[in-house]
Amino acid sequence: VGLLILRRLVATIPVLLLVTAGVFALIHLTPGDPIDAMMAESVDDSVKRELRRDLGLDRPLYLQYATWMGRLLQGDLGRSIRNREPVIENVGRRIKPSLQLAGLAMAISLLVATPIGILSAARRNSTLDRFGTSFALFGICMPNFLIALLLIFLFGVTLRWLPISGYVDPMEELWDGLRSLALPAITLGLALAAVITRTLRSSMLEALSEDYIRTARAKGLSEGAVIRAHALKNALIPVVTVLGLQLGTLIGGAVITEYVFALPGVGRLVVDAVFARDYPLVQGVVLLIAVGFILSNLMVDLLYGWIDPRIRHR
């Protein structure tokens, strides 16, 4: 396993290089300029020129890229242009809410999707199945922001059970923290649950039609045991794949949910940075999100081996 991890990590180097070049080119090709964005209202050419020179923005692009890469190789992601703090500190402040939100959303989605997915497949075409597939369809169709606003209206404004926006760290105040994350986590969790329900239902259906299931039933195993011990484990591979990909998206890409609920997460950070043309911050955060994606995919690959030993030996 150690060798596998090492090999995979080495293989990520060209990917990361490509990401750095891609994100650097994209953000610098976007029209707009960080100094203009920062000082929209006060125009003083000499100040702007000085700032540009200070930040090295007056130099040719290839030199700027080389400088950035040089620092990157020493582990320095640079400083944000807007708040002049190291990129890593900016991300450090924002990563915790994002990770907590992602974790909570995952947990909610699994709690909802696992029973619905399994029962849908086991009682195919029953009322229960129709409910399950409708739930999945609904969850996939509904845009995040709409679910968010409906939840806010119901639980925040009308019932006043949960806070509408803002963030309290659950590691400092557990109860208030969980309450502050509840609505955004449900918003993300429902959408994710819909995807997992569909995936789990179809892979369960496939597994249930296999010969070994017929054999298991012929042995006289109870239906519950058949599903738990034989069908479910074999149906998990596609679910794990989906989960792995979604985890990456949740950490860096829960932009709309973070925006609506005013959660200080990584998604909002990167969007605000793009609007401000905060080049070092955008580059740094995208690179870190890419690393997160790569790691979550690596984890998925390792899980495959655990779920299906045949993959390990291949």
Binding site: P31, G32, A40, V47, K48, D54, F153, G166, Y259, R268
Partner: protein, 522 residues
């Protein structure tokens, strides 16, 4: 102020009159204060304020973001302050004199201490102006450009020697350029002042902490020099809530007590909600479109006029802005003493459009592109304008961009017609000079207008110190602008703010800044 009093004898439509009356009533000093001041103010409590974005820096001399000022006006104080009619009142300076047009002498208030315990005095003022003028990262250099040197006359008298007469300088000093930072704290803390303003101000509240993206907390300054009225609140807690709908819901649910701005689309609903108090605060803003004079089609004056005569501003203000604003006759808002109500806004006149198109050599109409921000209200406005122009035989394409692109397109004159939404300045100079004065290189004069008559008027308006005299000059200017059209003026928006009914004693000032000194919670 004449500009804010409705004049019933004037030949304006009833609706105009009502709108101005509404503006005037919202502007009348202390309306809100009076209505709320029947009870005795109570000390204590935490006021929770929702903002649309996060503050950028706590150093007023390095700040380029509007939102920062909302916080500054509670922890820092300028030399002079604005009243509800945009008049200039004593702030940290008790009085001032102008012995000649190039000299400004301030008598400073005695017994004022910075939050770090050091004295506020003439040396501190001198140090602050030098910092604004020389600190490499200072963005106050433009605003303090007319100040040549600063002399300490005695411990509490300071003299500004100007390079040229600058009638707008006092008004400029009511905001960040007049805000005094403790020299001791600034020198000791260095760049860290941007994140931590503890001890730096003299204001009614002291900085406590700022957890980025989460909360900014300030606390009552019990040693505040002004013993009249507040500060009453124990604490103010600012929080960024970027989504307007969610911010509004947070207010309705009681999670926040104040929100800085209500979108026009929400105003009617909010006014119907008994749990929310809405105050229409007329702004200094001027929302317009700059026309590029340096290239076709708008290097042609007749075609610029054809566009102006095609637009029905009343329809735009009613349909897009839902009457949360008034049609603009020029860059100076109705809140200003320089606003000339006798100049009507340009009315739609399709016969004139036809004549102007023919005069401009485009009798069959022409096509151009408008660049505007990709935000809902701008898109709606663009679509209405597009439809109105189409009726006049002019084809307009809409290019939607984010604000970063908009600014670089504007600075680079890479546009034909471009949206420009200016938050406004208390002195009319701030809404005019930098937009219409002939300038080389980049400036806010995106249109590239260069007109000797306008240049002369603008310069003169800085030299003349009599307000009545200046008002005449600005009226002349507005008439020329309506003819030359560096911009198509659309609307002077109102900036409604919403409060929980518990919030008492808030007095709105048209610069939109929320000063919480006399505010208390019921």
């Amino acid at each position: 102020m004449a500009a804010t009093q409705p004049d019933a004898t004037h030949s304006e439509s009833r609706r105009d009159f009502l709108r101005l009356a509404a503006l005037a009533s919202a502007l009348a000093p202390g309306v809100a204060g009076r209505a709320w001041a029947q009870e005795t103010p109570k000390k204590g409590g935490t006021l929770r304020v929702g903002f649309y974005i996060e503050a950028a820096t706590m150093d007023p001399h390095l700040s380029g973001s509007k939102i920062d000022r909302q916080v500054y006006h509670n922890i820092y104080e300028p030399l002079v302050v604005l009243d509800a009619n945009l008049g200039i009142k004593p702030g940290l300076a008790e009085s001032w004199q102008q012995p000649d047009p190039k000299t400004l002498v301030f008598k400073l208030r005695r017994g004022v201490k910075f939050h770090d315990g050091t004295d506020f005095n003439a040396e501190a003022v001198k140090w602050n102006f030098n910092r604004m003028k020389t600190e490499p990262k200072s963005v106050r250099k433009g605003e303090t450009a007319s100040i040549d040197t600063v002399d300490v006359v005695d411990a509490y008298t300071v003299r500004l020697n100007l390079k040229r007469p600058d009638a707008a300088l006092l008004a400029t000093l009511t905001d960040r350029a007049g805000m005094m930072v403790s020299p001791k704290t600034a020198q000791e803390r260095g760049a860290e002042l941007e994140r931590n303003a503890k001890g730096a101000g003299t204001g009614p509240f002291v900085f406590v902490e700022w957890v980025k993206d989460d909360r900014l907390i300030i606390r009552r300054n019990d040693a505040y020099w002004n013993k009249q009225g507040g500060p009453y609140l124990e604490q103010i807690r600012y929080r960024p809530i970027p989504d307007d709908t969610v911010k509004l819901q947070s207010l309705q649910a009681g999670e926040i007590h104040v929100m800085d701005y209500v979108q026009p689309r929400d105003v009617a609903a909010v006014k119907a909600d008994k749990n929310v108090v809405v105050l229409d605060v007329p702004s200094l803003a001027d929302f317009a479109y700059q026309l590029n004079h340096t290239k076709p089609p708008f290097d042609n004056k007749a075609l610029r006029q054809a566009v102006a005569y095609s637009l029905d501003l009343e329809q735009i203000v009613k349909g897009v802005w839902l009457n949360v604003g008034v049609p603009a006759n020029g860059p100076i808002p109705p809140t200003s003493w320089a606003y000339d109500r006798s100049i009507p806004f340009i009315k739609r006149d399709l016969a004139k459009v036809k004549a102007k198109l023919a005069e401009g050599g485009k009798a069959g109409g022409f096509a151009f592109t408008m660049t505007t921000n990709n935000i809902p209200i701008n898109v709606q406005e663009a679509e209405v304008i597009q439809a109105q122009l189409a009726e006049a035989g002019i084809t307009m394409k809409i290019k939607l961009v984010d604000s970063g692109t908009l600014i670089s397109d504007g600075n680079g004159k890479n546009f034909e017609m471009i949206s420009y939404q200016w938050s406004g300045r208390p002195d009319p100079d701030g809404n005019t000079y930098q937009f219409y004065k002939t300038t080389a290189g980049t400036s806010l004069n995106w249109s590239g207008i260069s007109n000797p008559q306008i240049d002369a008027l603008l310069d003169k308006s800085r030299e003349v110190s009599s307000q009545a005299e200046r008002k005449k000059l600005f009226s002349q200017l507005v008439r020329i602008l309506q003819d030359e059209l560096p911009m198509i003026f659309i609307v002077h928006p109102i900036e409604p703010k919403a409060f929980s009914p518990r919030v008492q004693g808030y007095d709105p000032i048209p610069d939109g800044m929320m000063r919480f000194k006399d505010v208390w919670l019921k």
